[in-house]
């Protein structure tokens, strides 16, 4: 068992647990996108950033989903530094994939009201959930990452349906953004927030993952 401090509270978890999971065990919710229980952690979206003390008054931001707990670790999940970085990361996400209800709602919940970067709709946040699902859960591995930098895409070899594909639809189902395509007609400054503004709900202010069937009555988390 490993003992660490999260948001001022000591907690003991099994060795090999990630900081994200340890926080969740305590009821602390950290926003995530590329993380999915059952798949290996990837650390791509950087939305789950937390601040970790490094001694001598210094600290660093780490992706909590990919960081294993260490004895004596001191973690702050909602520090000013972490929240500020998450907001900019969220801005970049919307700037690269604006028509996604998931992302728009997350941004609204974070209090973002302006996207200051050029909107370039890639239609994908390259979280790799589909790739990992196909490889790790379905053991097929028919899709993967192709290209580099801003040209990086999830694709099949030579653009044809791979022989490994079993039409399970898992890649579509597990996608956090394309599943929930935003249907608002006009994005103002890259932002919509229409759904949240039209029918405000009491969702937990940070994560959108569990608000699948959000209704006007809202719901409470933990």
């Amino acid at each position: 068992m490993v003992e660490l401090t999260i948001d001022g509270t000591k907690v003991r978890v099994m060795e090999g647990t990630s900081v994200l999971e340890a926080a969740r065990e305590m009821g602390i919710v950290i926003p995530t996108l590329c993380y999915y229980p059952g798949l290996t952690s990837y650390g791509e979206c950087r939305v789950c950033l937390v601040e970790v003390a490094k001694g001598k008054g210094r600290s660093s931001l780490e992706a909590s989903c990919a960081m294993p707990v260490e004895a004596g670790m001191v973690v702050l999940t909602n520090s000013e530094k972490a929240v500020k970085a998450r907001k900019v990361v969220m801005e970049l996400l919307i700037a690269s994939c604006p028509t996604s209800k998931t992302l728009q709602d997350m941004a609204s919940n974070m209090g973002i009201n302006k996207i200051r970067f050029a909107i370039k709709d890639r239609g994908c946040i390259l979280c790799g959930r589909c790739v990992r699902f196909c490889k790790e859960q379905m053991r097929s591995g028919g899709i993967g990452f192709v290209g580099r930098g801003t040209s990086r895409k999830v694709a099949t070899a030579f653009g044809v349906t791979p022989v490994e594909c079993r039409n399970c639809g898992g890649c579509e189902w597990i996608c956090p953004v394309c599943e929930r395509a935003c249907t608002a007609n006009n994005l103002v400054n890259g932002l919509c927030g229409g759904c949240q503004n039209v029918a405000p709900v009491e969702t937990c202010r940070i994560c959108i993952g569990c608000s699948e069937s959000v209704g006007a009555h809202g719901h409470s988390v933990y």
């Binding site: 591995g141 028919g142 993967g144 192709v146 290209g147 580099r148 070899a157 490994e164």
Partner: protein, 158 residues
Amino acid sequence: MEVDFKRVDAIVDSYGCNRDSLISILQDAQSEYRYLPEGVIRRVASRLRLPIIQVYGVATFFKAFSLKPRGEHLVHVCLGTACHVRGAPAVLDEVKRQLGVETGETSKDMRFTLETVNCLGACALGPILVVDGNYQGQMRPGKVKSVLKQYRKGAEGN
């Protein structure tokens, strides 16, 4: 594009059919065909028992590989920092103008392919233009035309 499997197999075998030589294998295969045809990529994946998407991913990730046929002459302009400071962008613009292509493209007559490189390690000679492995140092936009002339002449002379 007819792919001679014997040649590809020979290359794979020369590296002991080892996955850790994937990049070298693809590079040697590419120098045979001047680019990487689909058939070659599929054959390499099959011989090395690797998922095709993995080999395709590698072929599209690394700048050294081209999945499109390339021209007879490969023109590289170095855009390393030392060359940049000495005026490489102007040289690149002139080459683009002379060949009528953008970076990464091949001229319509399939004679020239233009690519940029991020440092060849010959910084004392910058800016550098390499055509078919022949280095031309201390380039100025004014020298581009004459350097390319010798390669253009080649075909006309035939």
